[in-house]
Structures are given as structure tokens and as C-alpha cells.
């Protein structure tokens, strides 16, 4: 049985008298430890898929099963790394992680164990040096690292990342992707990542879910990326499998499913 499975997921929003079907018949299964990216043009509903898995949105049709149990509310077993970091600005970096850890592992870990676990996760993303700073005092890349530490510290069954590096400059993004791969080698988390960056998707994923354009968006194609790990950015530039996968995603996004506004 699949670790996480979405079956016949669809969602329709009603605002006033108008209804709009955003997603229809989204089906896919994810195995334990798999890293899956969802890619598509903006507005195609890829974040909506993630929010349904997170439990932040309720699917109108179909449903999501995690280890055989239906997902119908948000929870720490599906921790989210938000696009705009969503750190609480009045708390320090450490307090932001602590808020999650103290709530999620209360009763499971002693106070000392929780404190150690917080430090452990801050160290994992190399943020120990700024642990007592507030979010306004650190850079965008650092904020996103703290967001990742907070999510990882919840020990999620599935880690959900909503365009985690979308708002960062290219160099910072590459650096964080490398860090994420390194962490991933150690922890072997199951990850769903939303992205609109083709290179990011191919570099990080075991499989890439490509979505068609909305309204009524659905999965167009699922592309496996059979590249050995650990992957190194520089080695891959001329790797035939990498180049082929990249070309396939580009072809899907820009030839077969170009944005309607641009195609017109």
C-alpha cells in the first residue's frame, strides 16, 4: 500500500454566485522516503494540492490517505515549510522552533530532551549562530532555513514544502538546495515540494508531477528522475539523464501546456 495517496482529489471554490473548479481528478501515490516535486505554471493549483494534503483546505471530491488513514485536518505529521517562511516576528529563531517542538512533542520528550532537539534542528540548518535573533534581523535565506528547521523538528511523516526557495535569489537558492539534499540524505524524509523552477525539480526529485493549466487542472504527466544520489549540481550539468529529464519538463511546460495567456 502506498505511504501517501491522493485519489480523485478535486476542489471547487464558490464565491458569491460563481463557482470555479480549480482541481479535478488528481491521483498519485507516494512511497515512503520518496521526494516528489509538483511543477506547473502559476495559478494551476499546485499550492492547492499541497494545502489539501496539509489539511489546510478540504477537498470537494476524493480524499488523501496517509498510512491508510484519511487526512481531514492539519497536523504536525504533515509539517509545512511555507513559501514566505511564516515565522512569528515577535519570537526569536529559537523560540519559533521551540513553539512547534514544545507543542508537538509535549509528553513524548522531557524538557531537557526538547531543548536538545531544538538545538539539534537549528544546527542541522546551520542557524545556531543566529538562534537568538528575531526574523526581522536575518536574511531571507536564513528565515527559510529556520522554517525548514521548524518543520523538520516536528518529525513529520511527510514534509510539505510550498515553493520554499521561490522568493530567494539564485545563489542563495542553490546553496539551500544543496543543504536540503544533504539533510535529505541523512533523514530520508518523504517530501512533497511545490516549485516552478525546472532545475530545482530535476535536481531534487525522485519523481516530478507535472500539472496542466487551470481551471480544472489535473496531473498531466509524472516523470521519474532515475539519477543516483548523492547528486552534485556540477556533475549533473552534462549528465544525459539530467539533460533528458530537464528537456522533458521544459517540453511539457512550454510546448504542450504553455500558459493560455501566452499561447494566445
Amino acid at each position: 500500500m502506498a505511504h501517501l495517496s491522493l485519489s480523485q482529489v478535486g476542489i471547487t471554490f464558490r464565491r458569491g454566485g460563481t463557482t470555479s473548479e480549480v482541481l479535478r481528478d488528481v491521483n498519485f501515490d507516494i512511497a515512503k522516503g520518496e521526494f516528489v516535486s509538483i511543477i506547473g505554471h502559476s495559478g494551476c493549483g499546485k499550492s492547492t494540492v499541497l494545502n489539501i494534503v496539509a489539511g489546510l483546505l478540504k477537498a470537494s471530491t476524493g480524499g488523501v490517505l496517509l498510512d491508510g488513514r484519511e487526512v481531514n485536518a492539519p497536523g504536525p505529521d504533515r509539517a509545512v515549510v511555507f513559501q514566505n517562511h511564516s515565522l512569528l516576528p515577535w519570537l526569536t529563531v529559537r523560540e519559533n522552533v521551540a513553539l512547534a517542538v514544545d507543542k508537538v512533542s509535549k509528553g513524548k520528550k522531557s524538557r531537557v530532551q526538547r531543548a536538545e532537539w531544538i538545538e539539534h534542528n537549528l544546527a542541522l540548518v546551520n542557524m545556531m549562530h543566529a538562534a537568538d535573533k528575531r526574523p526581522a534581523e536575518i536574511s531571507g535565506g536564513m528565515k527559510q532555513r529556520v522554517g525548514i528547521a521548524r518543520a523538520l523538528a516536528m518529525e513529520p511523516t511527510v514534509l510539505l514544502m510550498d515553493e520554499p526557495f521561490g522568493a530567494l535569489d539564485a545563489l542563495t537558492r542553490a546553496h539551500l538546495q544543496d543543504q536540503l539534499m544533504e539533510i535529505q540524505t541523512r533523514l530520508r524524509n518523504t517530501v512533497i515540494m511545490i516549485t516552478h523552477d525546472v532545475d530545482e525539480a530535476v535536481l531534487l526529485s525522485d519523481r516530478i508531477v507535472m500539472m496542466t493549466n487551470g481551471p480544472s487542472a489535473t496531473i498531466g504527466e509524472i516523470l521519474p528522475v532515475p539519477l543516483a544520489r548523492p547528486r552534485r549540481r556540477l556533475d549533473l550539468v552534462e549528465d544525459a539523464t539530467y539533460v533528458h529529464a530537464r528537456a522533458a519538463v521544459l517540453e511539457f511546460l512550454y510546448a504542450r501546456h504553455a500558459r493560455p495567456a501566452l499561447a494566445a
Binding site: P74, R78, A79, S86
Partner: protein, 285 residues
């Protein structure tokens, strides 16, 4: 933008750390802020002295205010029993009423504001009522509260409460409505219960708005207490002023007004300062 502000702040802090404690530039800065109000004040007192120095003037000039009211200026702590007390005791009594009424208003106002901010139903139901009630002048509540409590003390406190609660409710509600969806999502993922959500997310997130309400509220309470005390009597700065008027001690009224103004100013600054302290993180976001 946030990063830019942080950079400037860091640079300013670094500059402060390096500079010696007292510099010529620093002194000049202080002087530039203190000299103009002192000059204006001196000019104002002079004008007043000139205008009121004729024997037919209705109000005493500042020199006569000081000589006539010298007793209450130098000894604000005397207590001859009854209502014959120094200014300190009158002001303390007024402040105690404000503290009590305002504290109750803060608790009830933040709770009601949260309810109105959080629930659309409560918003639709309560907001029109609040909008009407908040326009009622503070003193108009006094007869009603006297009828209900049959005593001056709780009535004055109720007037403070009902005067200061509206800005607190309205600002809290706006603050709660403005909590970013992201913070709600974070709270949902880590499964904060409603009480934890209130203390750990709602209050800190809405704090800048709440403190705006508190600042307006404390100003209104100080405005209302003087008027209310004139009517209910007993010990209090409002009663002191009314009593001085009845005994034609105009100089004492002027001294009392100076105190009322200064204390109102201090109250406002206290709440504003507390707000800056509490919302340091939030407003920097």
C-alpha cells in the same frame, strides 16, 4: 524593505556603542529639543502676567497664583481628614479609580474585541450596537450608573470603564482581523488549541493595534474622571477643582489643572512606552 530597516538599526546601534557618553553634538541635540518649549512657556507666562495684572482682571496672573496657592504647591501630602487633603491624595484617589475602571475595560475590551474580530456572526451582531453606544458622552452614563449602583465610587469606576472600552474593543477587533493567514496556518499545523492560539499568536500579533486602543482609552478615562468626580464628590482631583471653584480659590484651580495636564501626559506616555516595549518584535515585521 525589512532588511534595509534592520541594517539601519544595526548601524545606528553600532554608532551609539562607539560614541562617548556625553558629546557636544549630543548636548546640542538635547538643547534643541528642550529650549524651544521653555522659550514658548516663558513667553506664554509673560503674556498671561501682563494681561491679568490689572486689578479688574477676572483671572489671577501667574505670580499671584504661586503666592496664593503656595500652601498646596509646597505640601501636597497634608491630610486634615474628610476631603481636606493635599493634591497628592486627590490625585491618588482619581488615579485609583482610573486604574480600576481602565483595567476592567482592558480585560473586557480585549475579550470582546477578540470575539468581534474572530467571528463574523459576533461582528454582525455586536458592531452596530457598539457603534451607537460609543457615541454616548461619558457623563451621560453617570445618572444611570448612580441609579444602578446607588453609590458614587462604583459609578465613577463604571463611567471610566464604559468610556475607555470602545476604542479598546474596536482596535483589538481590527488587530485580530489583520492576523495574517500564515500565522493561522502555522498554528493549525502545530495544532495549538484555542487558548494557546489566543496567548501565543493572537495577542502578540494584534498587540500594536491593541496598544493604540489602550492609548486612546487611557486618555479618554482621564478626561472622564475629572468631570465624573465633580458630580459625585468625595476625594478626587475633579472634586478638588469643583470645591475650589465653590470657595472662589481660582489659583488652586489653576494649580490643579497643571497637575491634571501633566498626569494625563504621563499616562499617555506610559501606555505608549509599554506598547513600544511589548510590540518591539511585532511592529518590526
Amino acid at each position: 524593505m525589512a532588511t534595509g530597516a534592520t541594517l539601519t538599526a544595526t548601524r545606528a546601534r553600532a554608532a551609539k556603542a562607539r560614541a562617548p557618553l556625553v558629546t557636544m553634538a549630543g548636548l546640542r541635540g538635547v538643547a534643541a529639543r528642550i529650549v524651544p518649549p521653555l522659550v514658548v512657556l516663558a513667553g506664554f507666562l509673560l503674556l498671561w502676567e501682563v494681561l491679568c495684572s490689572s486689578p479688574t482682571a477676572g483671572l489671577p496672573p501667574p505670580s499671584r497664583v504661586v503666592t496664593e496657592a503656595w500652601d498646596i504647591i509646597v505640601d501636597p501630602f497634608y491630610d486634615n481628614g474628610g476631603t481636606d487633603k493635599g493634591l497628592f491624595w486627590h490625585i491618588a484617589a482619581s488615579l485609583k479609580r482610573v486604574a480600576l475602571g481602565f483595567s476592567l475595560a482592558v480585560i473586557a475590551g480585549v475579550m470582546l474585541g477578540t470575539l468581534v474580530g474572530q467571528s463574523d456572526w459576533a461582528m454582525r451582531g455586536l458592531d452596530p450596537i457598539f457603534q451607537v453606544l460609543r457615541t454616548i458622552p461619558p457623563l451621560a452614563w453617570l445618572p444611570l450608573s448612580l441609579a444602578a449602583f446607588r453609590d458614587g465610587q462604583p459609578s465613577a469606576i463604571f463611567v471610566i470603564f464604559i468610556t475607555s472600552i470602545w476604542p479598546i474593543i474596536i482596535n483589538t477587533a481590527v488587530g485580530i482581523r489583520n492576523i495574517p493567514q500564515d500565522y493561522r496556518n502555522v498554528a493549525a499545523v502545530i495544532r495549538l488549541n484555542p487558548i494557546e492560539f489566543f496567548y501565543k499568536v493572537m495577542l502578540p500579533s494584534a498587540a500594536p493595534y491593541i496598544f493604540t486602543g489602550l492609548r486612546i482609552g487611557v486618555g479618554l478615562s482621564w478626561l472622564a474622571i475629572v468631570a465624573a468626580e465633580m458630580l459625585i464628590g468625595g476625594v478626587g482631583i475633579g472634586f478638588f477643582i469643583w470645591d475650589a471653584w465653590n470657595s472662589s480659590h481660582i489659583s488652586e484651580i489653576i494649580v490643579a489643572l497643571v497637575y491634571v495636564g501633566l498626569i494625563g501626559f504621563v499616562l499617555d506616555r506610559l501606555v505608549a512606552g509599554l506598547g513600544v516595549l511589548v510590540t518591539r518584535g511585532t511592529s518590526a515585521a
